[in-house]
């Protein structure tokens, strides 16, 4: 284990380990770049990174340019996790054989994927990596939609959202299924560490990322990543939307250690009604019609119930 990086304040933190360039093609207001910088800046250690096909990948490695000043690989949509697992296996092999070029370095292995790449098409690959307990971290940039291909639903898309393959229409309120509980599924692999994070709560995020990086074995991180294009809000409001997500408890911040010990890491002082979170996004606009208002009520009930569940899990210490 290497010594954890000490961080004094946000200003210092934000520029402390520039390995992800501001020069990229991500949309203005995209939370991806904020999350990636927060993850990378949490350590000064060397990095081996992978990105699945998606917004992050197509916007940061368009030949002959790269936004990455760290070892980085992209293979396909589904296998970013396994690419990093393979690199980690090679690191172990070369370490055993005494053939590392810089044997004193202590690299961290991290894969990034969107919710499409993680909840759906890459699900099996992530599950395999978690089950085999590779010494790696998998970070989901969870914007709840296939944003790179223009707004199709994923199994992370929440109920009532209008996506291009589940559009709201005369007889439809959009997505009809509840968001997949990826945290629960990943924790069920009994991995050493799983956590949900949000870019607005950067101290909480850094703590979790550092904990994850200093954990031996597989780590799963789910990061809420508001998408200005598909959630339909003004690019300047990214952090406002993230605040609404965490403070309404739609996206609660917690961690699960060794598959069972659950800790809630952020309790909003003033819990915001879910309605406010939904109202701030174009993808939910139709829910405010009279005939769909019952869905907003159901949303609130679901979020309350989940919060109660998390609290009970935390209390029970099981």
């Amino acid at each position: 284990m290497s010594e954890m990086k000490k961080i004094k304040n946000l200003k210092e933190f934000s520029t402390s380990a520039d390995r992800f360039e501001g020069a990229n093609l991500l949309c203005p207001g995209c939370a991806h770049s904020i999350i990636v910088r927060e993850v990378l800046n949490a350590t000064n250690d060397d990095l081996v990174l992978a990105a699945s096909t998606g917004c992050l990948e197509v916007c940061t490695a368009v030949y002959p340019y790269t936004s990455w000043d760290a070892s980085w690989i992209h293979i396909g949509f589904e296998n970013g996790s396994t690419a990093v697992a393979g690199a980690e296996a090679m690191y172990k092999a070369l370490k055993t054989k005494g053939r590392l070029k810089q044997p004193d370095r202590n690299p961290k292995f991290i894969a990034f994927g969107g919710d499409g790449a993680s909840y759906d098409i890459g699900f099996q690959w992530i599950s395999g990596c978690m089950e085999r307990n590779h010494d790696m971290m998998y970070v989901v940039l969870d914007n709840e939609v296939y944003a790179n291909t223009g707004g199709q639903r994923s199994s992370s898309t929440p109920i009532g959202a209008s996506a291009t393959t589940t559009p709201a229409g005369k007889i439809s309120y959009g997505e009809t299924r509840n968001k997949k509980d990826m945290m629960g599924i990943m924790a069920a692999h009994n991995i050493p560490y799983a956590a949900q994070v949000a870019p607005n709560k950067w101290k909480d995020m850094v703590k979790k990322i550092q904990h994850g990086m200093n954990t031996e074995g597989a780590v799963f991180i789910n990061a809420v990543s508001p998408c200005t294009t598909e959630w339909k809000f003004d690019p300047k409001d990214t952090m406002h939307l993230t605040d609404l997500a965490t403070d309404s408890l739609v996206f609660p911040l917690y961690e699960i250690i060794d598959g069972h010990e659950l800790n809630i890491t952020y309790r909003p002082k003033n819990v915001v009604p879910v309605e406010e979170y939904l109202a701030a996004q174009g993808r939910f606009r139709h829910l405010f019609k009279d005939e769909y208002k019952y869905l907003i009520k159901e949303w609130q009930e679901r979020v309350d119930k989940n919060w109660e569940y998390l609290n009970r899990r935390e209390e029970a210490r099981v």
């Binding site: 396994t82 690419a83 697992a85 393979g86 690199a87 090679m90 070029k101 085999r132």
Partner: protein
């Protein structure tokens, strides 16, 4: 703890799978990332046993699918070390996407394919439909006709694939069950001699060199994609064949075993010839010998290197032959077979008056018997005598039911 070495007899009785596994051990592969599938499973099982007996030092990662197996290989190869795996048939089909990614990133990886039919109908036995499916994936492809060759070609494949001028992944094909499960005497190299031949892995653009961070697997659209692919293709056509010959020659010097991209048997004065791959080559050689005794000048061409296809050497070999049969062990689904097409392509703009016919045979493990080949040579001789094709251009060999012939 250092790994132990094995004292091998000069000749060991190995099947093709075990021979391949021994080659991976002797090359001291750094990472094997694999998923089991019949009939290739014994290769990775063999490697696993070597690992558990402290005969290899590398990492063995049993992943959850063939797609993941090659994904792990790609990540490991990009990290900078020697990488290998094995698969067959449906597994190769699942892996196919990643084959293009490995070659497109110019990563040296050795993949053993134990040739097996593609479903449906489900079938675990040999044909070449899996090999044909990935023929355009940008990998170098060798073809072994016997366990000995499976062993030798694995060692050779590492050398060619990892060469810094080549930097392309390589496949070693062998016939499912026919080669993979048939034990024969295999001449071995000592562990030291084999490793010295393969050599210490020399990384290039490796992700574990933190002084020189690299970006692998970029996006290129119309402004660069063509240049990347064209360069890769040009290197495959221009650099790889010479490199293969070089490594073949070095291997011959070490072992006395001579390999050629096109394996010719009785071809110096042949009037009629069969071109084929895998275990059929040996059968065809035996029958060709017998046909010679009957006065038919029969020859055999065995394809040792499937990709890059040895166009020039095939053209040179077949230019004076009167009638040639291309034996394809895959139903091409509405086309001529691959071998038929490649041979036709090799000779089309030459002065050759060769009569070329294509035969589909051996699907799903159906035997190719000596009788089939006797009939085939007889038919070829009749074509040669008549100076024209007396039968349809594409036929089946040994299939029940109505006589199927096309074109």
């Amino acid at each position: 703890m250092a790994f132990d070495k094995l004292e091998l007899n000069e000749i060991e009785v190995w099947d093709g799978n075990y021979a391949a596994a021994q080659a991976l051990r002797q090359a001291q592969v750094d990472v094997v990332s694999a998923y089991p599938i019949t009939p290739s499973t014994a290769i990775v099982e063999g490697y696993a046993k070597f690992k558990s007996d402290n005969l290899v030092e590398g990492e063995f990662v049993m992943v959850e699918s063939e797609h993941a197996a090659m994904s792990g290989c790609i990540g490991a190869a990009a990290a900078g070390g020697r990488v290998a795996t094995a698969t067959a048939s449906q597994g190769l089909a699942l892996m196919a996407e990643t084959l293009y990614q490995a070659s497109g990133m110019r990563l040296p990886i050795v993949l053993n394919i134990v040739n097996r039919a593609l479903a449906a109908p489900l079938n675990v036995n040999c044909d070449h439909s899996d090999m044909y499916m990935v023929r355009d994936s940008g990998w170098i492809q060798f073809d072994a006709f016997s366990p000995q060759e499976a062993y030798d070609l694995n060692l050779i494949a590492f050398r060619v694939s990892e060469d810094h001028e080549v930097r392309l992944p390589a496949i070693v094909n062998q016939d499912g069950f026919l080669t993979s499960h048939t034990a024969q005497g295999v001449h071995t190299l000592s562990d030291d001699a084999a490793f010295n031949f393969v050599g210490e892995y020399k990384p290039m653009n490796d992700m574990l060199d933190f002084e020189h961070p690299v970006t692998h697997g970029v996006q290129t659209e119309e402004d660069w994609h063509f240049e990347h692919k064209a360069r890769q293709h040009a290197d495959t056509m221009n650099i790889v064949p010479g490199k293969i010959d070089e490594v073949f020659a070095e291997f011959e010097k070490l072992t006395g075993r001579k390999y050629n991209q096109v394996e010719k048997y009785n071809m110096d004065d042949a009037d009629v010839a069969v071109v084929c791959m895998g275990t059929s080559v040996e059968t065809a050689r035996e029958v060709a010998g017998e046909m010679r005794e009957k006065g038919i000048k029969a020859g055999v061409v065995g394809l040792r290197v499937v990709r890059p296809f040895p166009f020039m050497e095939i053209a040179e070999t077949l230019k004076d032959v009167k009638a040639v049969a291309a034996l394809d062990r895959s139903a091409p689904g509405g086309a001529a077979g691959m071998l038929f097409n490649e041979i036709a392509g090799s000779l089309f703009n030459t002065d050759s008056k060769m009569l070329l016919s294509g035969y589909i045979y051996g699907l799903g493990g159906r035997d190719l018997t000596k009788k089939h080949l006797v009939d085939l040579y007889t038919e070829l001789q009749a074509n040669a005598d008549a100076g024209k094709l007396l039968t349809k251009q594409q036929q089946f060999i040994g299939v029940r039911g109505p006589k199927l012939a096309f074109l």
